[in-house]
Assembly symmetry: C2
Homo-oligomer: 232 residues x 2
Amino acid sequence: MSGAAPRALVFDVFGTVVDWHGTIAAEVRGRGLPVDGGAFALEWRAGYAPAMDEVRRGVLPWTTIDGLHRRILDRLLARHGIALAADETAEFNRVWHRLDPWPDAVEGLHRLKARLPIATLSNGNVSLLLAMARHGGLPWDTIFSAELFGHYKPDPECYLGACRLLDLPPAAVMLVAAHPSDLRGARAAGLATAYVPRPLERGPGGEMEPWTEGEFDVVARDFLHLAEQLGA
Amino acid sequence: MSGAAPRALVFDVFGTVVDWHGTIAAEVRGRGLPVDGGAFALEWRAGYAPAMDEVRRGVLPWTTIDGLHRRILDRLLARHGIALAADETAEFNRVWHRLDPWPDAVEGLHRLKARLPIATLSNGNVSLLLAMARHGGLPWDTIFSAELFGHYKPDPECYLGACRLLDLPPAAVMLVAAHPSDLRGARAAGLATAYVPRPLERGPGGEMEPWTEGEFDVVARDFLHLAEQLGA
């Protein structure tokens, strides 16, 4: 590992800790919707960055991820000609609260937590992250969310806001993420970085963001390998 | 219990979950300071409400509880003619991060958590509450703090801010506290209330705030009794 040992870890969540693609694909199949589950998951997720960007540019007022997911879902259902009752749509939208952890995540987080404070640092809203933690048994010390800062990652306010609440200098805080773009945002704000690639994030054969060897302080195969490298 | 069952519990912390008086008195004795431990704890705590009020009235800019505790401590040490090195004073000030839970607290929180989300709702800053949770094994789902809202309890912004982050209407959220004044603030904001008196909060024979039978939705002897009444 390059740099000093971190004094706290903050985690990206969607894709890094939990498997949105697999969970949503299974839910679509379970609901018997007349679409391909994996393709629907990708379409839903594809609306995410543009929606946050509308918030960032002030086209939309501050909207939680629950609200953005619902906007995207309504459009997707219309596009596919799927009609659901309002409460059914609301319940479907909450699939993001029920995303399943990657197989190594819970054990890895417990090991890491025994040594260091662990928190989310996600664009997901607090109530979503809280429900997801209870669903999957994710043992967070606390939940940090873009919602607390009124800014979505990779805006620096998110990374620096978490450091302020931890009362730690950025260099003492490490972001763990499966996305090089998120890690670059953290690094630009002065945080340490741990890259945990999740090759199955977009399903079998899905694309991954390019990155360069040596760009991040730690690279780990999974959270157990991360724990090993951090002496946890 | 009067009212509908709560869907989340938020907890006052100092005095309700942890024993500030006993922990600080023991620390003062352990440091061999030439003052009475219990009296020193009371003096330190007595500076707390006036200091928050200075923030509330804009006499002081937003200051965390760590910062307010330190201001009060510096004055107290000067008043008692005690000279400590700067790092020793900083370490002493962090005794508030190491407060011990009441004997029923950890078991009670685990039982309650099995049924409902549990979070702090404290004037303590996030890093203080996080360190305290790790010290005492307090299994919070997440940490809500006045620091997130820029307002100290009993300002309504705190109670309503927690409900907003939980994405629940105030009536679905119950504040658990040992202080009638805090509970009245929560009730005024629309929250449900559970009063857990802690007769030893200010040490043996210490005074407690007056309250009226029927004022709060639940009254419990301790967190196990609270769990019982909430079916947890």
